[in-house]
Symmetry: D2
Amino acid sequence: MIIDKENIASHNQNNLDQHNLRFDFTANSLIQKGVDVDTIIKKVSDFQVAIPSWALGAGGTRFGRFSYYGEPGTLEQKIEDVGLIHALTQSAGAISLHIPWDVPEDAEKIKSLTKSLGLQFDAMNSNTFQDQPNQEHSYKYGSLCSTDDNARQQAIQHNIDVIKLGEQLGSKSLTVWLADGSSFPGQNNFQTVLKNTQDSLKQIYAELPEDWKLFIEYKPYEPYFYSTVIQDWGTSFMLANECGPKAYTLVDLGHHLPNTNIEQIVATLMLKGKLGGFHFNDSKYGDDDLTVGSIKPYSLFLIFNELVYGMENNPQNPYPAWMIDASHNLKDPMEDLMQSLEAINSAYAKALLVDQKALREAQRNHDVTLCQEILQEAYLTDVRPLLEKARVLNGGAINPLQTYRQMDVRNKLVDERGKHSMATGL
Amino acid sequence: MIIDKENIASHNQNNLDQHNLRFDFTANSLIQKGVDVDTIIKKVSDFQVAIPSWALGAGGTRFGRFSYYGEPGTLEQKIEDVGLIHALTQSAGAISLHIPWDVPEDAEKIKSLTKSLGLQFDAMNSNTFQDQPNQEHSYKYGSLCSTDDNARQQAIQHNIDVIKLGEQLGSKSLTVWLADGSSFPGQNNFQTVLKNTQDSLKQIYAELPEDWKLFIEYKPYEPYFYSTVIQDWGTSFMLANECGPKAYTLVDLGHHLPNTNIEQIVATLMLKGKLGGFHFNDSKYGDDDLTVGSIKPYSLFLIFNELVYGMENNPQNPYPAWMIDASHNLKDPMEDLMQSLEAINSAYAKALLVDQKALREAQRNHDVTLCQEILQEAYLTDVRPLLEKARVLNGGAINPLQTYRQMDVRNKLVDERGKHSMATGL
Amino acid sequence: MIIDKENIASHNQNNLDQHNLRFDFTANSLIQKGVDVDTIIKKVSDFQVAIPSWALGAGGTRFGRFSYYGEPGTLEQKIEDVGLIHALTQSAGAISLHIPWDVPEDAEKIKSLTKSLGLQFDAMNSNTFQDQPNQEHSYKYGSLCSTDDNARQQAIQHNIDVIKLGEQLGSKSLTVWLADGSSFPGQNNFQTVLKNTQDSLKQIYAELPEDWKLFIEYKPYEPYFYSTVIQDWGTSFMLANECGPKAYTLVDLGHHLPNTNIEQIVATLMLKGKLGGFHFNDSKYGDDDLTVGSIKPYSLFLIFNELVYGMENNPQNPYPAWMIDASHNLKDPMEDLMQSLEAINSAYAKALLVDQKALREAQRNHDVTLCQEILQEAYLTDVRPLLEKARVLNGGAINPLQTYRQMDVRNKLVDERGKHSMATGL
Amino acid sequence: MIIDKENIASHNQNNLDQHNLRFDFTANSLIQKGVDVDTIIKKVSDFQVAIPSWALGAGGTRFGRFSYYGEPGTLEQKIEDVGLIHALTQSAGAISLHIPWDVPEDAEKIKSLTKSLGLQFDAMNSNTFQDQPNQEHSYKYGSLCSTDDNARQQAIQHNIDVIKLGEQLGSKSLTVWLADGSSFPGQNNFQTVLKNTQDSLKQIYAELPEDWKLFIEYKPYEPYFYSTVIQDWGTSFMLANECGPKAYTLVDLGHHLPNTNIEQIVATLMLKGKLGGFHFNDSKYGDDDLTVGSIKPYSLFLIFNELVYGMENNPQNPYPAWMIDASHNLKDPMEDLMQSLEAINSAYAKALLVDQKALREAQRNHDVTLCQEILQEAYLTDVRPLLEKARVLNGGAINPLQTYRQMDVRNKLVDERGKHSMATGL
């Protein structure tokens, strides 16, 4: 199923007057305050977030999984789903593949399908946290960190293979998320597994094409429950520095201990030029992988405040790779992703509204009250009309979720794919 | 210093056109969606939050305290400060006293001062967490929980004295916050201290006038660091039930372990008719006592969503007593309190905007996506024009903080009181 | 496979001298301090912990599962495994079944097998957190809390069916763990789902035989990530009170927010006569379900200190049902369970060593230093010789783990069952 | 007051037989397992922990402070107290001064007093988290991070002055704990304050004598409640690397978010040669500063397991500086410190007992069960007789706490100093 722009435009028709009214009021208010509204709309338009291929099917927990109807059963269908989301939102212009779940049978065909939908290939994701059928050496006790040389070499080689595959598709980066860790004190020697991981990453790094980047994730726990080899940004940053200039830290919002000040980590990494990628989701307890902005939208705004600051003031940091990394246990995955995209764009637009000059002045004067007012002034602004405008200008839907439902997309996919089709992978 | 309505009105003049423009747009948008805007404004107007007498001076931490200039040195000056805040915001119509820090020398004079400023006396607060000079028995090892009968009787009597004092002033409730607990395993016998506390509370309850309420706070830790006698809502609820129908649980937002779902506690207590009082503040780590809404504004909205639901659907629950319980370590306390009031009113107004009928329908249909949309639709609405309108109608300032600064209130207080005046109590 | 006492005795032979030496020294030291060593050994001997039927296979996480060899493929084999553990440790004298994973084809046969191994049937466990194949109504959006009457009735009926089955087997209690909750604000109306749950529990309670107990678990999160209907002990306690005198709270060590003082919850529940059951495991982050005592052994001791106190001083509380509820992702499940049993017995024996009289005296004197010394004196004592003695007296192994390995149990099971046999259920 | 060895020896007399019995049994058991008991005793003997000068008085919380009797009112008395503790325990052979609380009037006299008691000067501590009377520029909004050049220069100069003072006394290191941070989003620009801090530390580092070390502490929150400039080990490590080879990270056990794996941080830092110092305490919730080993003794053991490993395998890391950094709100400070010393020595001795060779072998074989057994075998051993022996050999007390009480030290100090003497500083 493909949604064309005419179809969207006709659905927009009903919302257009309301949108114009709202937009005019919002834009005028902002212009009066000296805001360059066009630039903000342009920046929001340009902001594209990758969808990982595994996000199109229902997720689950260790207690089980409730399926969704009409899940994409093939890589083509996953790409098709991202295409649908992108058509409606104009902000999901990339897909991030997971190997071995998404090995394309015909890379050229996949590339051309992807291109036809206006999508790019974002970072490639390797998988050394599960054993695949017929896999020679098990990752039960670790992969890149393993003290078992065979398992470790197999994991290194897998990552190199993923790079090779990514080159065929036109990807430019590899994301390494390492489940490696331990569930009991004493199970691992911390120094040994850290040294092994460092060595493995260097071997992978050595195979990285000139124009590629390596993103190193960190996470404090799960699936192991006592330690993980790369437990925090400090460890990832240290490893990235040791690999070299093409290696970066990747921040996943759910991968932190309770109450961590994530926005400060973002600021530090960008100052040091080492923030490579970003995984969006939301959470209340652990790595809950909920819809972006559904639990802590103000935190998301504060994080974007640092991202915007870094993008404007830290030329030493590359433009980060953005991806949604959520799990869809209860909602229609596509609806869930559209809610996430809206939350991301909303936080981004609000961060762009922060009066940086006034903020710097208030900070200089230690006017703490005013500092807070300046952030809240931006945060409390209703930026939805700006996001609508950004979408409309690119042929997207004023209200993507409403349009998705009016077009009856899910039922049409069920008709095409069958009710109990199931996404490959997790 | 007193601010009269004419003065405020003249300051409002400059903001009036902008306010009208914003209000008309907001009101029209809401009316079009079927919202009864007048009722919302009326409810926001009626919502009055008490200011505790100790909040007008600078707070501190165990590492020290940085003073603020022109702090109120007497009870009269504290009341005066609340009067100033109320004049500007029209939403701080009560003061909550702390004994022995605020024992009035002449109760009638204090009552008449308070009345003249449009203020009421909210809950009385007892203090058994510190030793006062010349106090006979120490609370170092506990007060209402104490295994030392003398200390325990002294603490009970203190609470009864506070009730007596409150009767003179026209207060109608007593808030008991109990620091009692232990810092080391084994220090206390959990069952003994719980039974003692239960018994002490019953003795205090027995002295409660017919039309009074007893509010029992809970808190997981601090100032003791291994256990507190009333560690959670469950313990407070159990104790309140044992005392009788005039005893209630009081929720302080900062008194929870990381990640606690506070809004659910609110819903449960209101269903059971036992939510008596509420202390507002915000926090990232522990009982940080920061400005309301400065850290987790969406959580505050979700909590208000339950409060609104309870106030509309739970006649078994009395109208709760509202108070700001924050510490002002860095900001001008009065500015800080005005920011808190704005955040409270904002969360309240947004919660009033939730389309309860649509939400119930979406919940019935298990339309999780839509449930989220309905909450976010209310949350993302910019309600500031409604709050402005509520203030203006009552003679308050369109922008209280701006007016406070334009009127140069703090400097005038410094002139009156001296730079290094210091608030009594903590 | 069955291990007979002669076999164990012969393996004990090698360790006997060492054991006697260690025991004599320990016993003498304790006797000199006035400890009644025989009574402690008797109590440890009598302490029997149930093994849940699902614990004999490898567990997993949402990221996958690494199997173990020779897992029990049938209910009979699960019982057999518990029998092996019990033969070696003499402290796992019960099995707890999970329905529908363990529906016996022939109840009498199962009863007789169980009896022959010296085992009893502990609490029955119902399952309304997963959909079974061919199940009419889904639990995706809740079971006992559901606003869908059909799903709710189905869940109630399932629990009643489990009671019926339990009666056939001779079980005397039903444990209800409810996954019910929500992953997004607004998804559920907190009051509605609480009232539904209360009503459902009452219906189940009404079907409880006279000599049965109902255990109500609580848990703050997972598998849902925003709220759970029974989030804490307070909610469970409230529900149990509303059901009636045969309803109790069940404490699972892993079901608490970070830093919760669990031992205090235990003390409160026993004071109120409402601690019905206990699930043992250990954790660092969330409901990690690790080997008991592997992460926080001192906390376990402090909890046992309250359990011992309650068992001695709270006749209003029934003798609690004990069960290990851990997940075995990395270790041989039987080895893991034997480590858990050792940790439980160790904590119990140490708690029995606490000089309660001296402790009460020190508490009365507010001698905080001494209170700590008294607890630590018990905790630091090496009680392993006492546990050995308790086992030997009952025909168990001096060193169960060593004996298990020397007997090559796992490999023999692999021979019998095949390498890739897989446990039914999760 | 001074305690001489003869006095101690005579008190030991009563405990000697018991001690010998216990020691012989323990030593024999260990020797049979191949443990070199003499070496362990020697290492425990050599292990000396510094006492900070502020620890000899009662601590408090933001809610107040309950004094202790006979607190040391002068620097001389503080040193005297450390001398008493050291005489009894033979393991507190150093004192760590806090400037400006402990500026000696006559450095030579202080040096000679300290030497006479067998004490050394450990790291010097600067204080830029409070304003001192007559201080020109306030640290309310930051010190080394400050955007106010005057305040920042003043803070840098203060640290340089502390170095100078330390040189006079014979100290060899400076510990910088920076309260600097913010309580509200927006208050600080993260990058600016980080750069300022880096620059300030470099200026201080430049003044460091050749044989000195700079220790940089980190802490996630308190006294500021939104952010701290050096929030975690990663930031401290980064800053230390930028300063140079004499700059190190200092780990304070209480300065971590809930559930942090501290032992892994220790292992990483030692691998990189950057663990400079260690502050001991214990906590359940935040930076509770409780007696070492009173809450999580197994964690302490796991941390020592890494420290021992690092001291044996990481020549790249210097021998760390050890200090107790606890607050004594309820107990007699000297008793509290002796309990801490016992817990530290106990954890150290147990860690020395870990069979490293067997552990490495079990790790290589992925024998997770056995890895756990090996650690627990060491942990469960009652090492108190070894600690007693180490003390006796050096002229200390078999049971320091008992001897302290029998000697009636506190009352004698009250006689000397008066009941209400109060420690200078906090």
